[in-house]
Amino acid sequence: MGPSLFSSLFLFILVMIAATIAASAAPDFESEIAPIFEANCLSCHNSADAEGDFVLQTRAEAFDHPDAIQPGEASQSYLIDQITGLDPAMPEGDDPLSEEEVDLIFEWINGGAPWPEERVLRDDPPRDLDWWSLKPVQKTNLPGNRTDNPLDAFVDQKLKEHDLEPVGEAEPRTLIRRLSYDLTGLPPVPEEVERFVDGYGSAKSERSRDEIWKAFIDRYLDSPEFGEKWAQHWLDLARFAETHGYDKDKLRPNAWPYRDYVIRSFNEDKPYGRFVQEQVAGDVLFPGDPDGIIGLGFLAAGPWDHVGHYEVGEDKLDGRIAKHHDRDEMVSAVFNVFQSTTVQCAQCHHHKFDPIKMEDYYRLHAVFSAVDRSDRMYEGLTPEQTVERNQLLTRINRLKRETYNINADVERELTARVSGIKRRIREIKETYGTGNNPRLGFRSDVKSKADSDTWVQVDLGKSTSVTQIFLIPAFDGKSEKGYGFPLRYRVEASDDPAFEQNVRLLMDASQEDQLNPGTETVAVDVGPPAIQYIRVTATRLKEESTGHLIALGELQAVDSFAEKNFAHNTTVTSSASLEEGERWNPENLVDDVFYRGDFDQGVFEELRALEAERDRITAEVRSPDIEARRKEVTAELKVLEEQLKSYQSKSLVYAANANWPSVGRFFATDGKPRPIHLLNRGDLESPGEEMSPGALPLWDGAPETFFESADWQEGEARAELARYLTRQDNPLLWRTMANRLVQWTLGKPLVGSPNDFGRAGMEPSHPELLDFLAIRLRDDPQQSVMSLVRLLVSSDTYRRSSQHDSNNAAIDSNNQYWWRADRRRLTAEEFRDSLLTVSGVLKLEERGGPSFYDFVIEKPQHSPHYEYHLHDPNDPNSHRRTVYRFVVRSQPQPMLTTLDCADPSISVAVRDESTSALQALTQWNHALVEAMAKRFGERLSNEALPSTEAVVNRATSLALGRPANSDELQLLGQHYETYGAASLARVVFNLNDFTYLD
């Protein structure tokens, strides 16, 4: 042993010396090596992606690869191969490492590659802010010599640059129709069209034409319809709907105030910065102003998983996943909508394209860590009363949580200890026919007279040798024994199912009334020959409380030792109408379930023992202490909830909220932030460090974290975020909105990806114009949206014709530079509103308030079913503008969906515009189109127009804003004369010219 021990020791010492030398020579891992790996390698070589099967996250993983890092032998290490050479393989698709960096790694490996076991590397790329949207908004002078309209100045410059010659102005009729739809979402009324065409067409000077144009713009902007149309743009972005989505898809009856708030904000031309702030932290920044709370409907507008929050709860992983999704949904909405930033991509790893790190993303989770979504009062209480109410709620919620915990503990223990016992009890009761709802047997319907022959018959399936037949009376173990057992009866057998021939009488008990057998079995001897059909015929029925009837618990046909029951699960028929249900069913006559209590005492003793054991355990778990505390809590809750009633208000909005009476497993935070951790790979089961509120440092001077101290207030974090968003030096927010305003007026945005200004998005077609408009919005003391809209639609660019030009198309086929106007299809809402308008049924003045249903709700208690096909399209309650419809998430309105309305599960910046056969079917056959065609036809008929020509002209004036052309006069006229006004109307509603705006 000696020499061996000595040599091991010697070897050990040698190794130790070598290691010490090596370590002292190697560059420091933490300060010199880790940053290189984290900045250059970890985005691919992390445990989740594991590209090339090589992971540099932990020491163990890195050394798991056999050749990559060979301590002490850098030149043998595959890693060095990969990062050196003329054209290094790594980092893939990026600049090679510097010589200095390569040297450091080389020395580190030669020095033994020390790497502390506990140090986990993380992808930590440098923030690259060199991207157009992150640079400060730039002031540019107007190009060229046009000063009348800045949009035209910038657009003309680009047209000139690309040798494009803009087409001329559109016809006045086209212009007024375009303007009316773009600003109000409705067709212009014919009189208005004529007034505009007369004035604009005959104007003496360009100046007076412009004045007429601007007067119409102002008229539309001042109308309440403007807000109704423009709110829809915003509601698409805000993923607004009035049900939760997900499982059960329950209603949000108080979501509509947010919709009205958006309409009101556009109509009042609310300063944009304020509009943003109200939707993130209005409750903190504008206390006492109802809009400050209603605006928070934005945060809550998206989908919400009722089951995850309400039924599962935060003490389970699934419930915590639901909370995580909830915060992710809010964070994404804020950054996609206000900042055109796809922050949600940094959930599992750093953003692949943009300088957004996981830490940034989880700091935003911290901002929303104390809010959930629920109904919230927005007026009726003073700020002091609100504080008092919240304090009361905190106390109530604490007690509710205690009750919940007590019950959960009791339930956990009870389930573990008694569920096996309970199941055995149930089994016994089921088999022995004494359960709560036992399968008793066969029972006939009720007869008026006792002496009505009634039979029940069993088909054994084939000819069978039967020794005995047992008739077992029905009994449920509680009420009367021998229920329904006949007073007089016969038992017969036959090989003829009709019992017309070869009938063998087995027992005749029909000569006098029999004693009721109670629970005793009646045995009938059979013996040879074999039989197939057995019939029991009652000749005098027993009278029960409901009347005369026959009932039997079980019929058995057994062999000589009663070992086999041939009747089990065979077919039962009867002359009586049968009852079918759980207790009484023909099948129950042969199901082998019947009362056996009187001859199987052992089982009943077991049953009693089991029940006693169950009661003993239950009493033990629900100890007197626990019961006493529960009573105490319940009593206290009752008192507090009574007090809460004095703080009620009916003005509720579904919004971000921290204070409400907890319900189910949906517990309010009462303003106490939930701890938020960075989640490795986005996995709740791999939490990293705890995060405090902050935002994205995407431009110089932008804050990364909001608070120095760990002790911060929920509302303050959102207020900081709102301030961050609306900072003057924020390069994104103002550009984002300017881009949307161009999109909503001119039909397409300057940046083709309005919710993403990052590297994966698109770049602006007119960058100077975008910045010009952004500055105009930001620096306007009113931050007026309307004034920018006015600027955009008063331009020549807006007024261009949509006519094709092949020379221009050869250069710019997509019309990116606006050499013409873009023809557009009516949106789904515009189509529906136009049907109602043209038919004369639209109730334009019924604005705001709770939404109308264009469906019928079935089964509202559990999971509501939204049945659109049951809705009556002539229901006047639904003849309101489409923006006031009740928006269902999981079962979207079929007609509007087919016409490409927005999906409220996600923020929709640009709607799809598809053309499909299903759309044709919808527009041609939908019940609403049919109903409105009829109404439109009636309208035309009621006007008592003098001729076919007059009818056709009136139809096109109302629907298309112009008199009919010669083709239409002829063809529509013929159709009208043959098929009537309603059929004419149906055709008009399907014309291309009704659906498209030139």
């Binding site: 499982d247 096996g420 199941r423 092949s806 299809r825 096909h869 299903l918 159709h975």
Partner: protein, 476 residues
């Protein structure tokens, strides 16, 4: 006018982009040519809403019988969705071997015994959560929250249509209502709208919404046809006057296709054209869709599911690419779905027997027509159910392991991947199957590389398989 002549008349216009925008039926897919030679052309997804218990159907666990009623201890902490773990709960049904393979099936799926040698079982599938809505979306869209295209939409988008007059992606819902998430399970997300699943309700008086005019005081067959002819003329004139805008002529074409669809859809749904023995094989009830289902019962479930399977076969024959068939509606009461928290026997038995009857008929029928080899049938559900009891007669959710099976489409029959002895978690916990693997392999059989079928949305190149998915190469 068929599609070829339509293309011809459109001359030299930018065809690719036009079809992209058009969203017409009959448009080709974006994956052209296919990434590799395909083994299959079409897919049927059978979805058991509410979560079928694997241990009571396809995944035989004798240990549950041996330990029945004893307290259940898998040797680790267990967190259940609704309840606390109860005692070990033996399956209420017997299992017997079937086919050459001797695969054990329970009595409630015994009708599938006849075709069991054409089925490939995966018993080690693992889900993400035990919440129905999320788990359903994960199966249908590959993501456990809303906003993503359904697998059927991806297939429609990738492969396009094989016919001119029917949708590419058809959904046959449970007639009693939708499963959780409703239409989100067949929505297109960010793909063009024509790839959404089209709802067809076999047996319903109006099986396809708006296919025909509603009951009307003024619409007659004559006025209807005259109106369509008139529209064709006026809209063609309108389009001709506006050069350079394909959408306008596409809209004219859309109305023509709508007319064609009226004819072919009605024809596809008319199962009375099928010989009696075929109707019997699918288990159609003599009284038809009006069969009494006041109490959940096997006869009615067989009729409902069998009719959908038969209609699905007729749709596939006419070139539909992807059919989703649903069994079970949302989580209402009384139960009409597989979510057997309270009473496994009462609910699973009729639903499973009905499903198994129709599905066995579908497999046999496709096989006898030579269609099984290029048709993939995927049977799935949200998750499995626990080996222990909930209450005394139900089972709670088990997202930790459950079963899928596939038939046809070049999948090799057999069993791939096992669950542990309880049916609680995968046998090999570091080596399990995910929905991404299933989706990747199905796309592969269709000739599509799941990593190459991408669409950029919100900065991310989105895939059906997110950033996951490995081919199940043993199975193909």
């Amino acid at each position: 006018m068929n599609r070829r002549s339509f293309i011809g008349t459109m001359g030299s216009m930018a065809l690719g982009s036009m079809f992209f925008r058009d969203g017409l039926l009959g448009s080709p897919g974006v994956v052209q040519p296919l990434h590799h030679k395909p083994k299959a052309k079409r897919v049927i997804q059978l979805f058991m809403a509410g979560a079928t218990s694997h241990v009571d159907t396809f995944d035989y666990k004798p240990l549950l019988g041996q330990r029945d009623g004893e307290s259940w201890d898998p040797g680790e902490a267990v967190e259940l969705f609704q309840s606390r773990p109860g005692a070990t709960f033996a399956s209420p049904w017997n299992f017997n071997p079937y086919g050459q393979s001797g695969k054990m099936l329970s009595d409630i799926v015994a009708p599938l015994g006849e075709v069991v040698d054409d089925m490939s079982f995966i018993h080690n599938l693992v889900g993400k959560t035990g919440v129905h809505s999320q788990a359903t979306l994960l199966q249908t869209t590959g993501f456990n929250f809303a906003g993503f295209p359904s697998a059927g939409s991806w297939v429609s988008y990738a492969l396009g249509s094989e016919n001119d007059d029917l949708p590419t992606f058809v959904v046959l819902p449970d007639h009693r209502g939708f499963a959780s998430n409703g239409a989100k399970n067949w929505g297109t997300g960010f793909l063009p709208a024509q790839h959404q699943g089209t709802l067809i309700r076999p047996g319903n008086p109006t099986p396809i919404t708006d296919l025909h005019p509603p009951k009307s005081s003024f619409i007659t067959p004559e006025s209807d046809q005259a109106g369509l002819n008139l529209l064709n003329r006026l809209n063609s004139i309108h389009a001709a006057e506006r050069e350079g805008d394909n959408r306008l002529s596409a809209r004219v074409r859309a109305y023509e296709l709508a007319g064609a669809m009226q004819l072919s859809a009605s024809d596809a749904l008319d199962v009375s054209q099928e010989p009696q023995y075929i109707q019997d094989m699918y288990g159609l009830a003599p009284e038809g869709p009006g069969v009494n289902d006041s109490v959940l019962n096997t006869k009615a479930e067989t009729e409902f599911f069998g009719r959908k399977c038969l209609v699905a076969r007729r749709l596939l024959e006419r070139g539909v690419r992807f059919v989703q068939i649903w069994s079970g509606n949302d989580n209402g009461f009384p139960r009409r779905n597989w979510d057997s928290h309270e009473n496994l026997k009462r609910d699973h038995e009729p639903l499973a027997l009905g499903m198994a009857h129709g599905t066995a008929a579908l497999i046999k029928d496709l096989k006898q027509r030579g269609m099984l080899e290029d048709t993939i049938i995927l049977w799935t559900t949200e998750f499995g159910r626990m080996p222990c009891s909930q209450g005394s007669a139900g089972r709670d959710h088990n997202p930790f392991v459950f079963t899928n099976w596939i038939s046809g489409g070049g999948f090799k029959p057999g069993t791939y991947g096992e669950s542990d002895e309880w049916g609680y978690k995968p046998q090999d916990r570091s080596n399990y199957t995910s929905v991404y693997d299933i989706h990747a392999t199905i796309l592969h059989q269709l000739g599509i590389d799941h990593e190459k079928l991408t669409v950029r949305n919100n900065s991310i190149d989105r895939r059906l398989t997110d950033v996951h998915g490995h081919l199940l190469s043993d199975m193909i």
